[in-house]
């Protein structure tokens, strides 16, 4: 008996939380236009996502590009002409690795910091204070973060992709002796604007997930500093998982 009760309670909690999360995301999305009223808040957040995190994002992209090129090259030797190495690194980077890795890193960097910031505001009554001053927390806190994430994350990924592919070229040049033309020729031939678009749209979706999860978890934080700590971890874990699920869903839709 007990086991059913536990499972039942788990599912109820799950659906209640999921419902609240979806509701919050919907409200945030519907109120996005209010960002125009508070541009300075948006620019602060855009700076946070786009500028303060860019070194981290492109460093990860660089190492991802190099490792991808090396591993793929090793697999291809003797099977596929190495002139195809460039295009495979490029496609993997643009469609998959750039968006997903940037997403997961930013879930830790930006999503967790949103949860910590808003969670602290929650447990110290600052959210109540906003409401008591007739300021809508969704508009004031959620919208600028959400809009900044969906705009700035794709921009950051463009840089990440570029650095990643260049890293791939560097390794290919060193280990497989490819020159610039050999590496980039097939990239040019197989270039498809759709790949880039899908990669960037995906990134925007990940940005939406990272920000809304951080905001939701922050708003739900309880119980002082310890509660805020838990919220931070929860935001990272939850948004990373959701990013991977969304990635799969988008891939299936695109088939």
């Amino acid at each position: 008996m007990k086991i059913f009760e536990i499972i039942g309670r788990f599912y109820i909690t799950f659906f209640v939380e999921a419902g609240k999360y979806i509701n919050l995301s919907k409200n945030t999305l519907l109120k996005s236009f209010t960002v125009l009223k508070r541009r300075d808040l948006f620019f602060n957040q855009a700076f946070e996502v786009g500028v303060k995190s860019i070194i981290l994002i492109i460093s990860v992209a660089f190492f991802t590009g190099t490792v991808t090129a090396y591993q793929t090259g090793e697999q291809m030797v003797d099977l596929v002409p190495l002139t195809y190495l460039g295009v495979s690194v490029y496609k993997m980077m643009v469609m998959e690795l750039g968006p997903v890795l940037t997403g997961v890193i930013m879930a830790g960097r930006y999503g967790a910091s949103i949860a910590a910031e808003i969670g602290t505001m929650k447990v110290t009554e600052q959210i109540d204070a906003l409401k008591s001053m007739a300021i809508e927390p969704i508009e004031f806190l959620a919208v600028p973060r959400f809009v900044a994430a969906i705009i700035m994350l794709p921009i950051a990924v463009i840089f990440a992709n570029f650095i990643g592919v260049m890293g791939g070229f560097l390794i290919s040049h060193i280990f497989f002796d490819l020159n610039f033309n050999e590496f980039f020729n097939e990239v040019q031939n197989y270039f498809d604007i759709m790949d880039v678009t899908i990669g960037l749209v995906k990134t925007a979706v990940f940005g939406g997930i990272i920000s809304t999860v951080g905001i939701y978890v922050g708003f739900e934080a309880r119980g002082g500093a310890e509660g805020v700590g838990k919220a931070t971890v929860k935001a990272f874990v939850l948004s990373s998982v959701l990013i991977l699920i969304a990635d799969l869903v988008i891939a299936l839709i695109m088939l």
Binding site: D128, A129, S132, M133, I135
Partner: protein, 245 residues
């Protein structure tokens, strides 16, 4: 202090629980325009929960709260926001925005709700800061303020929009007696200068004796006393006696 007989808030049969915990059970009372009402009771008894029903931060499970004759629960978003401009609140910890300076904290209600020019906003801010005896600290960051300073800045922020009602959640808790007295004087000052109605939650009897027109005591989710300070001093109820002595 005199107050009119006009009822501003009416709380009827208010009940509120969190999970299985019944915090308020069938609480009813009125709040009159112009009075300073102190709500006392032990820590954790539900005083903050009660006061947060007065500006719609919490909604009753049962019963109703009316402000100027209208049920708060039935107000739409726009009306609840206009209520909150009239009913300001000073939070227990001050609840200043810790990512902002003193000036930015005080400017926020004005930049959000008015079209005042920057110069006028600054003038308002320095006026309100001197009102609470904190002139010249505009540029300080909130983390540089002591507990008493935070409360006073938060009070200045609460009156930025010229409210009609001020809700104080434990304004003197955690402050030394000297600062407490300053805050008590401010509460009295604000009330007479702006014709406010003040609801003060506290467990500081010194403060109650100094400022209260009327006292309500909550115990185990119910109101066990409603009267003036002389009456509560004379009460024979052991729970009350233990609390006030």
């Amino acid at each position: 202090m005199e107050h009119s007989n006009k009822i501003l808030f009416s709380i009827k049969n208010l009940s509120k629980s969190f999970g299985t915990k019944d915090v308020l059970k069938d609480v009813s009372f009125d709040i009159f325009e112009g009075e300073i009402l102190c709500v006392i009771g032990r820590s954790g008894i539900g005083k903050s929960v009660l006061i947060k029903h007065l500006n719609g931060l919490l909604e009753p499970d049962k019963g109703e709260v009316t402000f100027e004759g209208r049920n708060i629960l039935h107000l739409n978003n726009k009306d609840i926001y206009s209520l909150r401009k009239k009913v300001a609140m000073l939070f227990q910890s001050g609840a200043l925005f810790d990512s902002m300076s003193v000036e930015e904290n005080l400017a926020l209600p004005l930049t959000e709700h008015t079209n005042l020019k920057l110069d006028d906003v600054k003038k308002e801010i320095s006026e309100k800061l001197s009102l609470v005896g904190m002139e010249g600290i505009e540029k300080l960051h909130t983390s540089e303020l002591s507990g008493g300073m935070k409360k006073r800045v938060a009070l200045a922020r609460a009156v930025m929009q010229a409210p009609e009602v001020l809700l104080y959640d434990e304004p003197t808790t955690g402050l030394d007696p000297v600062i407490s007295d300053i805050i008590n004087d401010l509460i009295l000052d604000m009330n007479s200068k702006y014709n406010l109605t003040s609801i003060v939650i506290t467990h500081d009897m010194r403060s109650v004796r100094k400022i209260a027109d009327r006292v309500i005591m909550i115990h185990e989710g119910r109101i066990i006393f409603d009267g003036n300070i002389q009456e509560i001093e004379a009460s024979a109820d052991p729970v009350i006696q233990q609390f006030i002595s």
